[in-house]
């Protein structure tokens, strides 16, 4: 082994050498990191798809903007004008109080006698059904609409959207909790892996300390080792998650229910950028942190 005098080359060289010195524990670290990333990837994909559904349904059906019951016809028209002025709004369809009553009658069908007497005293509010051109701005636009005078409330016109949004939030929370737990476990396991290398090289570390190496100089090769394991893990995970997702998505897309709803799933290619970014950051972060933790004891000479 000849010394490389190039600093960057030295770091990468040492890091790689360490990775392959303890194959077993490197394997264990790789596995736990891959597990973390794959589970995270599955939930991320689930969340992306739910968001996609929500947007799809919103764009098909729009959101319903209810107007204050006391508002006059002019004020109602004013609200409509203002909504149309907002950027990103595609179209508005007005539903008068009468329309609302008729719709309610249709929904109740055989029990429509329940609504008798409401013709004179209509309690149903007038509303606009608003569709968007750009769905990514949906929440922003809804925000602006809610600030318009005489707007009472906004609901997504379909119950499924509400359910889906709730589901999406649930998935987000679960993803978060799982992520935190798995990251902690990963850091612990990777720090043990690095500890083996550090232990095997404690003699070298003590020599370095006596010669006057700074802690950072000693620490970096080990941090690089952790980061290399992290990058490997993210590469393996992205391949596995990509394959798994594409396979599952194909089976799901062929299912009756999906075809009837005319919904397509998000393709893996569309998610690739965000997933790879998260994976690489996660891998490098976990690797580096694990190394720093494992080094602490050995630097006290």
């Amino acid at each position: 082994m000849t010394l490389k005098y190039n600093r960057f080359g030295y770091l990468i060289g040492e890091g790689f050498a360490n990775v392959f010195k303890n194959k077993k524990s490197t394997g264990a670290s790789l596995m736990i990191m891959c597990a973390t990333m794959i589970i995270f990837g599955i939930f991320l994909a689930l969340g992306e798809n739910i968001n996609h559904f929500v947007q799809k349904i919103e764009s098909d059906q729009g959101v319903q903007v209810f107007i204050n019951k006391e508002a006059s016809d002019e004020q109602i028209q004013e609200v409509g004008r203002k909504i149309r002025q907002i950027q990103g709004v595609q179209d508005t369809v007005y539903k008068s109080k009468d329309d609302a009553l008729t719709q309610m009658r249709d929904m109740l069908k055989d029990k429509k006698e329940l609504l008798e007497g409401y013709e004179e005293n209509n309690i149903f509010p007038a509303s606009y059904v608003v569709t968007f051109t750009d769905l990514t701005m949906s929440s922003q636009i809804q925000d602006q609409i809610s600030k318009i005078e005489n707007v009472d409330s906004i609901t997504s016109s379909d119950k499924t959207i509400e359910t889906l949004i709730k589901l999406a939030n649930g998935v987000k929370i679960v993803t978060g909790v799982i992520l935190v737990l798995l990251v902690i476990i990963s850091i612990f396991i990777i720090s043990n892996t690095i500890k083996l290398t550090v232990h095997a090289r404690r003699r070298e570390i003590s020599i370095m300390k006596y010669v006057g190496a700074t802690n950072n100089f000693i620490r970096w090769p080990f941090i690089v080792e952790g980061m290399i394991i992290g990058v490997f893990a993210s590469a393996i995970s992205i391949v596995l998650v990509g394959g798994l997702y594409t396979w599952v998505a194909q089976s799901v897309a062929n299912a009756d229910f999906i075809q009837r709803m005319n919904i397509n799933l998000v393709t893996f290619a569309e998610m690739f950028n965000s997933i790879i970014l998260v994976y690489v950051l996660l891998g490098i972060g976990i690797g580096a942190l694990g190394s720093i933790i494992s080094m602490r004891k050995y630097l006290k000479v």
């Binding site: 000849t2 010394l3 010669v211 006057g212 100089f217």
Partner: protein
Amino acid sequence: MIEFRNVTKKYDTGTVAVQNANFVIEKGEFAFLVGTSGSGKSTLIKLILKEEEPTSGNIIINKKDTTFLKPKRIPFLRRSMGVVFQDFRLLPDKTVYDNVAYAMYIVRATPRHIRRQVPMVLSLVGLSGKAKMYPHELSGGEQQRVALARALVNNPSMLIADEPTGNLDPDTAWDIMNLLNDINLRGTTVVVATHAKDVVDQMEKRVIQIDKGVIVRDDKKGGYDFEV
């Protein structure tokens, strides 16, 4: 150069390893630290290297009080002193040349400087022809020479040797001691902890003797032990 002022070191176990030590080793001096094992010799070395903190008192190295030195500055203190140990502490998978070059690399010397300095210091310790060999291919004396070359390569102002001849046969031990003397003659302060009695007796250098943590003798030109 190295000054101990009322230095006491008490370990957490309750052992008092060094008690109220006072001495000054001047620039360019050659001093032996003698004492039986467990006398506190090693602790003195560790205190100089800032591997251990004194419980009380002050240690001044190169006119700087190191007692309150920040941990971050310790590497820079150590760069002013070369260290050799009884067990050589060479890296087995690196050649003689690389073992020495490594010490320069760590302090971020330029490749040019390394290429010039390493052969020079190897010739100083008489190992020019063995640069490409590995530590296991060398004798004990040669390994200690490599360690000395490594300690000297960054031109430290002092050399600290902890039992440098402990693992060597008497003839080789003498070679190493003579080499230390040569290094001292070139202007480097040399501190040698040892219990090689005959060497100390014959070299007639300054002797600081420590017994049960107390400095019992400090002679300008002493032997190992007057009482015996």
